[in-house]
């Protein structure tokens, strides 16, 4: 039976076992996996994911070796609601899939599929980040296009994770974070590109003592066939004790984006997906692409968020507005960007847990005050933004039955601001700063 016949013959209330038995094999086969390349009930840390798959190579058959799985598929019954993002069924299923993907045995896994044979959603694993690639797509009518879409995505070579660094509030350290995260990733031998998308300030270039470009980005954003490669500049950090220089690539800000055009003209000339499209052209050349976005929710920030896979939100513990704005970004702006991206058949950006920049080392009344403020923000979001739960974004280590209010933080360090005056990333210049950012990068990405 081919996939369409199977889909039609499945009863509307088919249970998980029936869907698993009848639907999984034809579906994975349609994605290009042979009978020899699929292992059902693949054991992952004491539990088992419904299916694991990997293409066979000449010397190694996946069905016999069970080594290096490439894709996991978690199947649910038709009665479980996977189309509504806020439904408990969906949340539970996503958590389960993420748990499988993040297990230490799943190092080689790059894709996760969640399906109940009505709907399908594709997730990608990039280092420590699991993010949705497609929205929840309905498997009705002609499903060939959908299969083709998923197949095209999973067959592509490894592509960079696009990270937007964003907070609606200014002065929380977006530029410093972008720069130092990029520097730390470069030290871990990752290929990194950073994009200064804040032409009003163009601080990122300035932090490295590089002059902004004039008009070039505008051309790239306007053109239909973008060639962002022409405006990429390498940045190298050399030191007599380094065997080879540390380097990452950078796209500098464009002065003309603010001086030549006002915002309405810019909106007329530059399409919403312009940045995303130009980045896709170089996505295969890098492991990480970081976008330094401006504060506020205007055209540049919108484009940056639209282009991103994940959003890193820095905040400051001593600044109530930065916490509130972080909450607003997660409950409002990121869903807006997601909705816009879903028109193009993609899932859009998800928020990573908020991290505290310039945090205190000592505990004290200020920390107490911050926790009180966060509790209020979480409560308000639950009331106003249809039950949106911000807890995992503020307290990522909290679990059911275990209230852990540990936050990811970079402490205040004189080194970090001192490096700014020296026009080098602090992570390159000072070991204590590097170790802090290494901690951050290991927590989130690697």
């Amino acid at each position: 039976m081919n996939l369409e016949e199977v889909l039609q013959s499945l009863p509307a209330d088919a249970s998980e076992a029936i869907v698993e038995h009848n639907f999984s094999q034809p579906f994975l086969k349609a994605l290009g996996f042979d009978f020899q390349e699929i292992v059902p009930q693949f054991p992952v840390s004491r539990r088992a994911v419904d299916h694991a798959a990997r293409k066979n190579t000449d010397e190694d058959a996946f069905l016999t070796s069970h080594k290096n799985p490439f894709l996991y598929m978690e199947v649910k019954g038709r009665t479980e609601n996977l189309s509504d993002k806020n439904h408990p069924d969906y949340r539970r299923a996503v958590l389960q899939l993420k748990h499988y993907l993040m297990s230490p045995e799943s190092k080689t896994v790059r894709w996760g599929i969640l399906t109940n044979s009505h709907h399908v959603q594709l997730f990608r694993k990039h280092g420590k980040v699991v993010h949705p690639v497609t929205p929840c797509m309905a498997l009705s009518g002609d499903c060939r296009r959908l299969i083709k879409d998923i197949k095209r995505r999973i067959e592509e070579p490894n592509r960079a994770l696009i990270i937007a660094v964003y907070n609606n509030k200014g002065g929380v350290g977006k530029t410093t974070t972008t720069l130092n995260v990029a520097a730390t990733l470069a030290m871990l031998k990752k290929r990194v590109l950073i994009i200064d998308f804040d032409p009003n300030q163009s601080d990122l270039g300035d932090a490295l003592n590089l002059k902004p470009l004039q008009g070039k980005i505008l051309d790239v954003l306007k053109s239909k066939d973008p060639s962002i490669r022409d405006v990429i500049k390498p940045y190298k950090f050399e030191h007599p004790r380094l065997k080879e220089p540390l380097s990452f690539d950078i796209v500098l800000a464009d002065e003309d984006l603010v001086s030549e055009l006002d915002e309405t003209r810019l909106k007329q000339q530059v399409k919403f997906h312009a940045l995303r499209r130009s980045l896709e052209a170089v996505q295969a050349d890098y492991d990480y692409i970081l976008i330094d976005s401006p504060p506020n929710w205007r055209i540049f920030a919108q484009k940056a968020l639209y282009a991103a896979d994940v959003v890193l939100v820095p905040a400051r513990h001593d600044n109530l507005h930065s916490l509130q704005n972080a909450g607003t970004a997660i409950t409002q702006f990121i869903p807006e960007a997601q909705a816009k991206r879903q028109e193009a058949g993609e899932a859009g950006p998800i928020a990573l847990p908020i991290f505290m920049n310039n945090a205190f080392r000592e505990t004290g009344p200020q920390i107490q005050l911050m926790h009180q403020a966060i509790t209020r923000i979480i409560k308000e979001a639950r009331r106003n933004a249809n039950g949106f739960d911000l807890t995992p974004y503020f307290y990522p280590k909290s679990r059911k039955g275990h209230e852990n209010r540990k936050m990811i933080a970079i402490p205040y360090m004189a080194y970090i601001s001192r490096a700014d005056f020296m026009h080098v990333p602090a992570a390159f210049a000072f070991k204590p700063a590097r170790e802090q950012y290494l901690n951050l990068v290991k927590e989130y990405f690697v």
């Binding site: 070991k431 802090q436 290494l438 901690n439 290991k442």
Partner: protein, 226 residues
């Protein structure tokens, strides 16, 4: 029906139970719990005991409950009978939080090291004042700790851990199961962590002559190049 009592909840006479490891809880907590319980009350959180002989039991977990029962003058105490194996005792003590958790530093992952150090630093009156969590974790993670025989090399990592009370604090949570050092070492970081005598022994084993006048840096260069 099994004939053994293992796994059962039983109401045992208090006299038959021997205390195990005594609890260190504050007197005030014990007095409060005893006043809630009263002489007639039932301890809904059971004692965990093992059978040591006929009508003889010994506490292996929840010794706080034992102290409260003694304070409240209970005649009978509700107990769960656990297996008399070292594993069961270890699990019970860990679940009742009555044991100091320990991490094997020789094989621990970065996350485990990070959690252990975070735990130590969050203790009241921690000995690790002025130590940077991120630095210590990063340097421990990169150090050749699988070969360490003691925790002494931590003092050489340059993250403000000295051989006094700070190292002692770390000894509370870390233990080591060292691997034997390989015959031929060329890793510079590992060589530098050894003493000059050890380096000379290593060079002698590899039949390198003319060592007596060399300084440590020269020895490291020589061995790393070989």
């Amino acid at each position: 029906m099994s004939l053994s009592d293992v796994g059962n909840l039983m109401c045992l006479p208090f006299d038959e139970i021997e205390p195990g490891q005594p609890t260190e809880a504050h007197e005030y907590l014990i007095q409060f719990a005893a006043s809630q319980l009263g002489p007639e009350g039932r301890n809904w959180i059971p004692l965990i005991v093992k059978e040591t002989g006929p009508d003889q039991y010994q506490v292996i977990g929840n010794s706080f409950v034992y102290a409260v029962a003694a304070e409240a003058d209970l005649n009978e105490v509700w107990c769960i009978i656990a297996e008399d194996t070292p594993e069961a005792v270890a699990i019970t003590r860990a679940l009742a939080q009555e044991t100091q958790p320990k991490t094997n530093l020789s094989i621990a992952s970065r996350d485990e090291i990070s959690a252990a150090i975070d735990y130590l630093m969050a203790l009241p009156n921690t000995a690790l004042k002025g130590v940077s969590h991120a630095s210590l974790v990063a340097r421990l993670d990169e150090a050749p700790r699988q070969y360490w025989k003691t925790l002494q090399p931590i003092t050489k990592l340059g993250c403000r851990i000295t051989a006094g009370k700070k190292l002692k604090a770390l000894q509370e949570v870390f233990y080591l199961t060292p691997e034997p050092m390989p015959e031929v070492v060329t890793d510079r970081a590992l060589l530098e962590s050894l003493t000059t005598t050890q380096l000379k022994d290593m060079a002698k084993k590899r039949n390198i002559a003319g060592l007596s006048k060399l300084k440590k840096a020269d020895l490291v260069n020589l061995l790393a190049a070989a």
